[in-house]
Amino acid sequence: MAEAPQIFRRIAIAGNPNTGKSTIFNALTGMRQKVGNYPGVTVEKKTGRFFGSHGETMELLDLPGSYSLQVRSPDEAVSRDVLLGRVPDTPRPDAIIAVLDASNLDRHLYLVAQFLELDIPVIVALNMVDVAEQRGLTIDLLALKNSLGVPVIPMVASRGQGLIELKQALSRATLHVSECKAQLPIVLEREVSALSRILKCHAGSVRSEAMLLLSIEDERLAAEVNGNPSLLTEIHAARERLKLSGLDPIAAPVDARYAWVSEVCASVIHRRGEDSHGLTFTDHVDQILTHKLWGWLAFVTMMALMFVCIFVVAKWPMDWIDGAKDWLANLVRSHMADGDFRSLVVDGVIGGVGNVVIFLPQILILFFFLGLLEDSGYMARAAFIMDRMMSRVGLHGKSFVPLLSSFACAIPGIMATRTIENRNDRFVTILVAPLMSCSARLPVYAIMIALLMPASSVWAKAGVMLCMYLLGVAAAFVMAGLFKKTILRSETPMLLLELPPYRAPVVRGIVQRMWERAVVFLRRAGTVILALSVILWALLNYPKPATPNPTRADVLAHSAAGRFGHAIEPVIAPLGYDWKIGIGLVASFAAREVFVSTMGQIYNIEDAKADNEDLRSRMRDERRADGTPIFTPLTCLSIMVFFVLAMQCLSTVAIVRRETNSWRWPLFQIAYMNALAWVAAFIVYQGGHLLGFR
């Protein structure tokens, strides 16, 4: 077995949010961590390796963005804990790459001031020097290097500029800890030293730990000292002494660091011409996109456009995949004698997997649009315009970013809640995030809309799909409001959010993410969906009826799945579903897309003559015992509403368990969402009936 290479140096990439940390990480390691133009893309530490200038192996740690080591949210806590050596399985880094936005140096140097207090060698990656240049800022690199006492590498990470120099700086035999630090008031220094002597932690970080404990707010202090009463008493006594000498322990270190930052900036930043206070491109766009009325209109228009494209553009590739699927099924039929295995291949494998794969183009278009929103910087604006609405249910706009991410998949959405400071607000957002329609629901909506309104225009179809997405959003708001008033009470938080400048989306990056998504989707279709389809085929075909030459309908009714469907029919009949839909519904709890493949299998088995017929037309012709159609508009609507609100994703359950550190919340989530789905589908179907709809 090959021996694992010796790690020469462990390096952490840290800095303010949205400075290009993950871009540098990806460029150095060749990995493809998600990047985007909004704060909070990375919420967990990521590890990668690369070779230095002399071939030595380096371990690189990409940390979530943070404004300060005095953390306010779980993602910032990850960075602080790693840098202070608090994480048991992660050694304290040997060096820090501090990534700074060159166009915003005076604000980003604050965190560098804190890094310099950590007694770890720091290398400054001065990213986006091109943007600073465009804004008329010239940065004296030599002066900056001398002021900070650390190497400074100018970079444009998105274009790979400065990477070689960065590697060279990291590969130096020895890296020195800088002697340059912000000068703290002497009384504060004295208290920090006294507290350092009684703290039991990593020798290198003990001073920073003491500083953080002295300058933390009272509400967070108790949790930080972990119930150590003597330490708590010491800290309170030190704070009292500081206050008596006229120093605010919370504000004093911040002011001292900013005073140092101002001094550094005064000597290194040269502005060409007058500081322009005119409106920039971003300001002009923001006047529309963050406007009380136009902002909303723009948001809804963008969403509507996305769904129209999903129907219009995806139609052709979907037809091609459908044609290929039929061609393959016919090929197997013409080369294989009738029997169980042929039925498995045609109905189970080609029918089951093909009916899911057909929706790949629509899912990719959804990801393309979400990629545009993330890369352009619009996500933070969406959070801003949603703030008013979110505050009505007791959350702030920041909670909307995880919800918007959940349109792609609830799992990254739930991970993104780590940017939310308050525990209760974070849990509320986690509980409602799966109500946002993820891409796995798209195939179900698409097929139901095709049944609901076969002859309607794409605009009408896109409108119905938009309504389904908006229903998810509305349900998320209502439930969030309910949870905030009952089980997860807390004050409405105050919004504090950075709005990044607009940037042209990097199409290559978006296409790369679409490609990755396609690979994940196809791999899932070829593994889990395939295996589930094969097992479903068995459950739909066995046990066989004892009667000789049974019809396909008899086989299905006699099968294990058929019997199960009949058994649960009383529960789902009030929603307008028959036992066959019931089978699909139960199967969809393994994966939502399986509903479509199950329907495909059921109607293939049922109607052997219509093998080549489209699944949609077969479903449309399906009748109840009294001759009335099963898939009436009301039934289709009821199914869609059920899928909008139901919790049917095991991966989401697992991630909620991990993020909440308890089984209580995921179990509660399953219970409330499925109960809500049943009740809502019941109201749609029975209410519609009472109003005379069919």
Partner: protein, 80 residues
């Protein structure tokens, strides 16, 4: 008797105005973060949008702040 002049805060200031921070309430927990983001005494900010929340430009960065938070930031008009 002098008339009582109401305090000018970031939430009551007009949109588009250049402002200078006079004082930030020391008690509010979010105010530490505000300071860390650069809202220090005498720093110049510009209010660029007003609605349910406020957008202001501080040291080249656009920050969205909730109105309640803006109430904690006392400002004065600043002529460039």
């Amino acid at each position: 008797m002098f008339p009582v002049v109401p305090k000018l805060t970031l939430s009551t200031a007009k949109c588009g105005e250049q402002l200078r921070v006079r004082h930030i309430c020391p008690d509010c927990p979010h105010c530490v973060r505000l300071r860390e983001l650069g809202f220090r005494d005498h720093v110049v900010v510009r209010k660029i949008a007003d609605g349910a929340a406020v957008i202001c430009l501080l040291m080249g960065t656009r920050l969205a702040l909730g109105r309640e938070l803006c109430d904690h930031v006392e400002v004065e008009r600043f002529a460039a």
